[in-house]
Symmetry: C2
Subunit: 196 residues, 2 copies
DNA sequence: GGCGTTTTTCATCATGTGATGAATTATGCG
DNA sequence: CGCATAATTCATCACATGATGAAAAACGCC
């Protein structure tokens, strides 16, 4: 887009969608704090004012980019329905399906990169982790559901960090089936094994 | 410090130390990107120009704040000396000692909050994780040391995230002995258990 | 006491950020 | 075809950031 005069562009360019797509990518890469409205606009090939026009404030844009494409609670239904037997493996499979699919991975990456700000930490802890852990632990009928689900989360979050955020090998490129076989027993132990 | 005229303050105030202490706290809370030089200066009760005077650029200040008080490789010596038997428990104990001590925890927190910037990610992955995992795995004489140590790291990093960065209960306030008893078997399995 | 050095603040710069409003262009309807 | 509306850029604002340099004050040595 070399010619840039004021006014509406000819045709039906879906600039709003372009902005949202750019925002999802950039927020996923650098989080809310590390992403500027101008960077999103540049990536979308528009002027920054257009971002405000369509989405309002930067925070509003961030929320739009976070819009959940796959509700984690919905994704967990197969886990819950099978009961606690074999739940470790089902959790691991669902977890990998969600994270290995870019549609759902981008907003999750953006969430995790929010740990530099108190608001972002609260969003991740209370707006996401609690929201998923609580209901699943209850639905599985676990004894000490909070404690057990937190142990499960401590392993899953570690995988998130190394495989998806930091890209540490050989974990980052490990085949999903190997990961399932590796971690399912651990998760199962956290779910129904002995607790000290 | 209500009176602020130009020039040297009377007495021997160790403003350099005050700046460094403030920097360590703020970088630990908000990372490099989320911390401004002016915020550090304000926390130390000085003018921002003094920060530059003593430490140079913001990056230089960050590196100074990261200065390792406890070399993680040194901390790992007791783990290594005992061989692979019981290494899971020893790793967990050393890990908690390091993280539950503010002196060593602050720079580590600052490191982890660097995931919003490519440079910060590289520092954490290559400048820290690789540095610790590689030698320990080799020294323990593990088969597939990289793979096994990465599995161990995936659990430890998850604990870091939930206990120290996000402060998720009941993990954040769990007594160290309970954590050791909970996680040591898992870490031991990653070290010398069967691998899929 | 004078002077050189160190410490410290003030003033300022270049640049970037989120955001607003006016001018311009394209579209679709009557 | 004219007009109202929507889309888009340009211009601008207030403020923040990392950083620099000069002015001023304190200290210690000769």
């Amino acid at each position: 887009m070399t010619t840039t005069r004021r006014g509406r562009r000819p045709g039906a360019p879906d600039t709003r969608a372009a902005i949202l797509a750019a925002a999802r990518e950039l927020f996923a890469a650098s989080g809310h704090a590390g992403t500027s409205v101008r960077a999103v606009a540049a990536a979308a090939g528009v002027d920054a004012a257009l971002v405000h026009h369509y989405f309002g404030t930067k925070d509003d844009l961030f929320l739009a980019a976070l819009a959940v494409r796959v509700d984690p609670r919905t994704a967990m239904i197969p886990v819950i329905e099978g009961g606690v037997e074999g739940a470790g493996e089902r959790i691991m499979r669902v977890f990998l399906e969600v994270w290995d699919d870019e549609e759902s991975r981008l907003p999750l990456l953006a969430l995790f990169r929010g740990i530099v700000e108190p608001g972002g930490r609260q969003l991740l802890r209370d707006g996401f982790l609690r929201m998923v852990l609580g209901p699943v632990g209850q639905a599985l009928g676990l004894d000490e559901p909070d404690r057990r689900m937190t142990l499960v989360a401590s392993q899953l979050v570690g995988i998130v960090m190394l495989r998806y955020l930091l890209v540490v090998e050989p974990l980052a490129s490990a085949p999903p089936d190997v990961l399932v076989a590796t971690y399912a027993p651990v998760l199962q132990g956290y779910l129904d094994g002995p607790l000290p």
